[in-house]
């Protein structure tokens, strides 16, 4: 492992943060940015990979500006991107409830929530743009929840003391994504976006150091195709599925980002994963994924366990005096609303100490009895009805009557491809948006801020910054897919598929995925140690070898073949797992979701080391080991302090 920040011959991590006061940086940037001549926009082809909130909003906006856009996604329709599953809400500093919110406060909460491991300037811009997102969504016909007077309703979300979260029942992601999808459909109808669903990006084509195209697989016919463009926008979501069990959709993957990493894009903070505290616990070994119960439930639900580990009574038989509302006890000022990393670790601690509930003893109660007494069943039903139904469908238990059982699960990845202020990666012309980049959430993401980030990136940031890039690099020299670089990348992708399909092993892709998941969950999960991480790196190395010699992929490459898709993605997850463990090993501190047991306070809270690790770790691909580059983080406007939610 070598370390550098801009050693000779290596790209420097230049964040390109504009000059000026924090409040003025984005305006200064926009004032100075050169605009692309409207008549020339349609001559530029932009490849947008992904149709979630980030990709869909970027594709629709760029097309609306006049660019020629091609948009790709894995699902059979752009509307099914994983953003659709977001439940709880989206933050915006609108201050409609008049409870003291400001752009600054949203910025401050987000930076603090991220445990001071995010870039100030990016987070401030995100807060500034948050209000525009709500305006845009309402104009598109997103049916946010409203008060009787006709105004938009707000609720509070974990880690915030103001109500700044907008929502559409428990289906906020669905409604925002449908807004984006409809905007995209508008542009498709106008002929400015060519939508290519059921396509998987398998590699990036770099010509003369710039991203100039992609290679994809048509998931119905198996054809390996090439597409050329003037810029590539990677909006492919997060990599939480590395753990096998997560709240992510079955098709969520790291493949596109990983290919870009291997072509020169640095991967930042891969060890920062978010383990969400309120998910339905694992029921059995056949389990294919985990289901989130929105964080909004913690507004009215109270988390508890029996005080006595030996207490086997049904929850309604356990009197108040024998219950431990441990979040309220440990964090009196935030109580059940502490940020996710804190709530997850607290649940793990209770279960590790033997106070877990349910058959597996890996669960805690989330109880609505008090809220139902106080507000009535109907009010609770209005707020959470669909979540309660979902819980009952999965567990067979009715949360109106008996407390939910919940346990933490992998949910979101703060790490991702490194980007500068313009959301450009270390490969010029390759922009990364949404969950796929690392930019705004530091070491822990606050609830309701991923939807905000994806849409800010796509609607309001990248339309400026892509234009700036196109201006800087005159793209009259359009590269076509006949360029030899394309044939080479296409050939490599084809050979890899053939290798998978021809490997005549005895284990299914899913078996490998489960094995990887167990290694990562146990050693690169909620709490990490030097010994565990070292073990994980060795175990993942062995798994990688075993994978390529023993995997069995059924069928052929020339048809719809889900297991072939999965096999390719699992191979990439295995390599990513190695990098996650290395990154976690290097970071000898605890911050946000990254908890190293060696570094904790006497009370078991995360112990940061700002002197040594106030940085972004950006990894450059290297064989056999990656190279580390560091972007130091400087805080000019806020004073990093120890997070306290007591």
């Amino acid at each position: 492992m070598t370390q550098s920040n801009g050693a000779a011959g290596q790209p420097r991590l230049e964040a390109k943060i504009p000059d000026g006061h924090l409040q003025d940086k984005w305006d200064n940037y926009k004032d100075a940015v050169a605009l692309v001549n409207p008549a020339n926009k349609r001559k530029h082809t932009i490849l947008v990979v992904g149709s979630g909130l980030a990709g869909g909003s970027a594709a629709a906006t760029l097309a609306g500006l006049g660019y020629n856009v091609k948009c790709f996604c894995i699902q059979d329709s752009a509307r099914r991107a994983h953003s659709i599953a977001a439940q709880g809400g989206i933050n915006a500093a609108k201050n409609y409830p008049n409870d003291g919110d400001t752009i600054w406060r949203l910025f401050y909460d987000t930076v603090k929530g991220g445990d001071y491991r995010a870039r100030e300037s990016n987070v401030y811009r995100l807060s500034q743009l948050s209000a525009n997102i709500i305006d845009q969504a309402v104009a598109q016909g997103v049916p946010f929840a409203r008060e009787y007077g006709g105004m938009l309703a707000n609720r509070s979300f974990g880690g915030a003391l103001v109500s700044r979260t907008f929502y559409a029942r428990g289906q906020t992601g669905q409604q925002l994504l449908l807004g984006t999808y409809q905007a995209l459909s508008h542009q498709i109808a106008a002929g400015r976006v060519a939508m290519l669903p059921r396509r998987e990006m398998l590699d990036l084509v770099v010509v003369d150091g710039h991203a100039r195209g992609i290679v994809t697989r048509d998931l119905v016919t198996g054809t390996i195709e090439r597409y050329a463009g003037d810029a590539v926008l990677l909006c492919t979501g997060g990599y939480g599925n590395a753990y096998y069990l997560s709240t992510n959709a079955k098709n969520s993957n790291v493949t596109a980002a990983w290919r870009c990493y291997k072509r020169g894009a640095f991967f930042a903070n891969p060890c920062y994963t978010q383990i969400h505290p309120t998910c339905i616990p694992v029921a059995g070994s056949y389990q294919s994924k985990l289901t989130l119960m929105s964080e909004s439930l913690r507004n009215d639900g109270r988390v508890w366990v029996p005080k006595d580990p030996a207490d086997q009574r049904a929850p309604d038989q356990i009197p108040e005096a024998d219950r431990d509302y441990y979040l309220e006890r440990r964090y009196p000022s935030f109580g059940n609303l502490v940020p996710r990393d804190v709530a997850s670790r607290a649940a793990k601690k209770e279960c590790d100490d033997g106070r877990g509930v349910g058959e597996t003893r890996l669960a805690v109660y989330l109880d609505f009895a008090d809220a139902i007494d106080r507000l009535g069943k109907q009010a609770i039903g209005e707020r959470y009805g669909n979540l309660f139904e979902m819980y009952e469908r999965i567990t067979g238990e009715n949360p109106y009557r008996t407390p939910m059982r919940i346990y933490p699960a992998v949910h979101y990845t703060m790490g991702g491809l490194w980007v500068d202020y313009e959301l450009q990666s270390t490969v010029p012309g390759l922009f990364v948006l949404g969950e796929a980049n690392f930019s705004d959430h530091g070491a822990n993401r606050l609830g309701a801020s991923a939807l905000m980030q994806g849409l800010a990136d796509g609607y309001f940031v990248v339309p400026y910054t892509v234009g700036a890039y196109l201006n800087r690099h005159d793209r009259a020299d359009s590269v076509s897919a006949d360029n030899p670089a394309f044939a080479e990348v296409q050939g490599a992708a084809t050979r890899r598929i053939e290798r998978l399909i021809n490997s005549d092993g005895d284990k299914t892709p899913t078996q490998f995925h489960r094995q990887l998941g167990i290694i990562l969950w146990n050693h690169v999960g909620m709490s990490r140690t030097r010994a565990g991480l070292t073990h994980a790196i060795a175990a993942i190395g062995e798994l990688k070898e075993e994978f390529w010699s023993r995997v069995r992929v059924p069928g052929t490459a020339a048809t719809f073949n889900k297991n072939l898709e999965f096999a390719g993605r699992i191979a990439d997850f295995i390599e990513l797992g190695d990098l996650m463990a290395r990154d976690a090993l290097r970071r000898e501190e605890s911050c946000g979701g990254h908890f190293r047991e060696e570094f904790q306070t006497a009370e078991g809270e995360a112990l940061r080391n700002d002197d040594a690790y106030m940085d972004v770790a950006a990894w450059e691909y290297g064989d056999p080991t990656p190279h580390l580059h560091l972007e130091p983080l400087t805080f000019e406007s806020v004073q990093p302090s120890t997070r306290s939610y007591k």
Partner: protein
Amino acid sequence: MTIHLRVWRQSGPDSPGFLEDHTVTEANEHMSFLELLDVLNEQLIRDGREPVEFDSDCREGICGSCGLMVAGIAHGPQKRTAVCQLHMRSFNSGDTITVEPFRARAFPIVRDLVVDRSAFDRIIAAGGFVSVTTGGAPDANAVLISKADADRAMDYAACIGCGACVAACPNGSASLFTAAKIAHLDFLPQGQVESAHRALAMVDRMTDEGFGNCSNHAECEAVCPKGISIAGIARMRRLYLMGPLTAKAQ
């Protein structure tokens, strides 16, 4: 529990299909129906056979990727439940369950249980949007919307686009899907501006895609995992009939 499955196999859109018998002995009541198919597929791969292809993604009943005829019912016997959320506790050990793809003229089969629902995207592209571009939107509270209207818009906006309505309809009509989008946008002032034009364009597109007409069977509403009401279809029809008059004015 032990479950016998009769599963539709079809290697491509133009190949003949057939039902194939399988037995899964390791089923359990906490398993979802798709997890049962996962277990079957793991078994098939290990036996050197080709797994059964089916679509799924979120497995939370929200993305609309999944969709199967389970025992002759779109998404299976449990009401208001997408098949990814259908759990084996709805069945008994020893049951034989037939699993087939959603069938409709406008949904060609891709492979096994996977169908092509891209016609839905084309119906939306015909007008299922508000024609605004990014930027310049007024403050979100500038136009007040009554809670009742916002709630009704949301009831229709909840559609997940799975296609169960089409599969259940004896006419293979996409009326519930199309009406849901038309009604969602028609309940909101932002959407009303284009309502008449939208209804004309989307309904015509639906017909062009090969979907049938609605003759009020209401089978669609019965299988809809989101419980979308056929009252939306009445609204769509009204807008469609008034369309030629009002669209001109718009």
